[in-house]
Amino acid sequence: MAGGRFLVLGAGGLGCPALLGLVGAGARHIAIVDCDDVDATNLHRQVLYDLGDVGAPKVEAAARRLRALDPRLQVEPIPLRLDERTLSSLLAAQPADTVVLECSDQPDLKFLVHDLCGEHHLDLVIGGVQRWGGQAMAVRHGAGACFRCVFEAAPPAELAPSCAAVGVLGAAAGALGFMMAHLAVALDAAQDVAGTLVALDLRELRPQQIRPARRAGCPGCDPHAPAPVRGPLGPACATAAGAACSR
């Protein structure tokens, strides 16, 4: 572990296993951002929580659990609803060696976090999970492909099935959350993972690793390209109409 400093956005299905992975790897400081309370219907994949936590703010319940795992760990619970303004302020306040883990369930938020991490020169790992699988990508702006080199824009709500409608297998969230922690620790240690996307589907039991080339004209990483167009954040994936909140 080099800097050992991480900012985890979303303490839900991906965030919970990612946090456990970071603590197990020896993280020294973790900030956790979420604005939701623990919900009994999500306990199958939000493995930091139990029935006694239902109704409590996720960030508080997660911090309590992580401190019990490692009393030396500095944990900073941040109950915050993320939008462009709050996120930009949050990222601007981070030390330069912070690695960000984007674990929310908001498609637009993933791209916003990606773009703002580029502006603030922060490394990040972006994850997504649905049904039996998902993906995780390590991004260091200026080194290797960025998330927008691979995906130019977030899927519109009408074409992105909601997690509420199709579900998320707990084991898929667990595997991808730990993969995100692994990639974040590797970025922290300056290992050669930037630009790597790992896709995993538990029904196939066959991970797929892709290291795409940087895309000329990519608004996410080409300094000569126009900045990406950003609109208001859409709904969270977890709900059909969804409050604009990371989960």
């Binding site: 999970v129 998902g134 995906f151 130019e152 977030a154 992105a160 099935p161 589907d201 029904r203």
Partner: protein, 90 residues
């Protein structure tokens, strides 16, 4: 025939099949064949103008077709085509 890996969100069109083999000499013709076999799937991959949607990526083996010839990229019978959409959930 080229093998096409179907991502989780699109398997409702393929009756849950993870991989299908579709005849075709280019990525575009394989996607047309995919639509013939599994109606409705292509519009989830390509937009109204017939271009691959911005939140979807198509690979032939490890190669992104945007760096090749896009939908005109030639494919061999031994190739594996992967359709990789951005996954939104967390």
């Amino acid at each position: 025939m080229p093998n096409v890996r179907i991502p989780t969100p699109l398997r409702k069109y393929t009756q849950g099949r993870e991989e299908v083999t579709i005849d075709g000499e280019t990525v575009g013709s394989v996607l047309d064949g995919l639509e013939q076999s599994y109606p409705g799937i292509k519009e989830r991959i390509c937009d109204e103008a017939g271009k691959v949607r911005r939140f979807v990526n198509v690979f032939v083996g490890e190669d992104d077709i945007r760096f090749l010839d896009n939908l005109a990229t030639a494919v061999k019978a031994s190739d594996e085509i992967s359709i990789v959409p951005a996954i939104a959930g967390g």
